[in-house]
């Protein structure tokens, strides 16, 4: 992870594990990762916790906070399929 502040990185990893435990079994959730906030045009390299979901929804409907230990939580639409062809 390319992040100048090692303390932030450690905090982000811990917060990520908390978030995974909270939402990974939710049927609408397809991935939980650490990455850039794709919607933040003012600060596109800001590192956030990302919950990927199959279709548009709200954080409140998933019971998600705005941040975990100071690391922002955002939603991303992403419905992923294995990529074999047939």
């Amino acid at each position: 992870m390319s992040q100048p502040d090692a303390t932030f990185e450690a905090r982000a990893r811990q917060a990520h594990e908390k978030l995974v435990r909270q939402v990974i079994d939710h049927p609408e959730v397809t991935l939980v990762d650490i990455g850039y906030d794709l919607e933040n045009r003012a600060s596109p390299k800001q590192i956030v916790l990302r919950v990927h979901v199959r279709r548009p929804t709200t954080k409140s409907s998933l019971g998600l906070p705005d941040d975990i230990d100071g690391v922002p939580v955002v939603l991303i639409i992403g419905d992923y399929q294995e990529e074999t062809g047939d």
Binding site: I24, D25, D33, G35, Y80, E82, E83, T84, G85, D86
Partner: protein, 322 residues
């Protein structure tokens, strides 16, 4: 084939209409039909006539309870349909013609290299030969690709034949180029290796990108490229790391870790297509392998890979020298 009572079939058809009225427009439903119950664990067809609702994803256990609590109207209820129900987890896509033109990478390649069509002998499909690796213990030459390309089933055993091109690209038994050795699904990594036979030589080369020079960890902001069977050479940028997701394996949801998320570059263009599973993402300036491609999304255009150092260590292989 079992005999079906005509009265039962009429009742099933009426129930099918009800099921369609309730659920056909649910986005998770891929098909509704009348047919014999399919036993979930073994995949065997039974003699019980049912209305079958095929869903793209079937939540189970706690996940189902959460889904049902939030979406009671989307729960497919046997009493409401009035006939035995079977919920089948399946997704369907248009099937290409068996007799239409095939892309260049669907041909027979000699020598073998990364970026070309392969499949196992059981699945009528195609994925991508990722690249050449060496068994750390025996020194044997192997190909490394996605588990769902080389094995695709919890019942796949070592020795399963690997075809180049894949069977979905008209590959046959005489196109066997490797035998399945082992996989990493037990560690939550969608990857496998197969030992090459002597049918054709294999080289460390990615079609259109050149040899792979090493293995490195994926990092945020890294520019990457891959050589895949379907989308050929594509580029992207890593915008997410340490991803965790669940996939269905052997009847259970399994957690996959070390997932890398890849987005389009500023210039746009595709990241991946069906058939690219198993291809290797390389850091663009160094040609070091950083990810094993295993899934994608069309809208928006994203790719998913597994961090390559974890793949190599779990499978106990090294990159073959160029």
């Amino acid at each position: 084939m079992p005999l079906i009572n005509p009265a039962d079939l009429r009742a099933a058809r009426r129930a099918l209409e009800r099921a369609a009225a309730y659920h056909l427009f649910d986005s998770r439903v891929s098909l509704i039909d009348v047919g014999m119950r399919i036993e979930e664990e073994k995949g065997q067809v039974t003699n019980e006539l049912t209305v079958r609702v095929h869903v793209r994803h079937k939540p189970r256990g706690v996940a189902f309870e959460a889904f049902a609590a939030r979406n009671p109207e989307r729960v497919i209820d046997e009493q409401r349909i009035g006939f035995p129900l079977d919920i089948v987890e399946a997704d369907y896509r248009p099937h290409p013609s068996l007799f239409g033109p095939l892309p260049a990478r669907a041909g027979v390649y000699n020598p073998l290299r990364g970026g070309i069509s392969i499949s196992n002998e059981w699945d009528f499909n195609y994925g991508t030969l990722g690249g050449k690796v060496i068994d750390r213990e025996t020194g044997a030459e192997m190909i490394l690709s996605a588990w769902h390309v080389l094995a695709g089933s919890a019942f796949a055993q070592p020795g399963l034949r690997i075809y180049q091109p894949g069977s979905g690209d008209r590959g046959q038994r005489r196109n066997t180029i490797a035998l399945l050795s082992r996989h990493a699904m037990s560690a939550g990594i969608d990857a496998a290796v197969a030992e090459v036979t002597n049918a054709r030589p294999i080289i460390n080369d990615q079609l259109g990108l050149g040899p792979v020079t090493g293995v490195d960890s994926p990092t945020l902001g890294m520019s990457v490229a891959k050589s895949g069977r379907s989308s050929e050479i594509t580029e992207g940028m890593i915008d997410g790391v340490e991803g965790v997701r669940t996939i269905r394996y052997n009847g259970f949801d399994r957690t996959v870790r070390h997932v890398v998320h890849i987005v389009q570059t500023a210039g746009g263009g595709e990241v991946s297509e069906p058939g690219d599973s198993g291809s290797w993402w390389l850091e663009k300036s160094s040609n070091q392998a950083v990810g094993l491609h295993f899934a994608g999304s069309d809208v928006p255009e994203y790719g998913l890979a597994i961090a390559m150092p974890q793949v190599f260590d779990t499978l106990q292989v090294n990159l073959a020298p160029a």
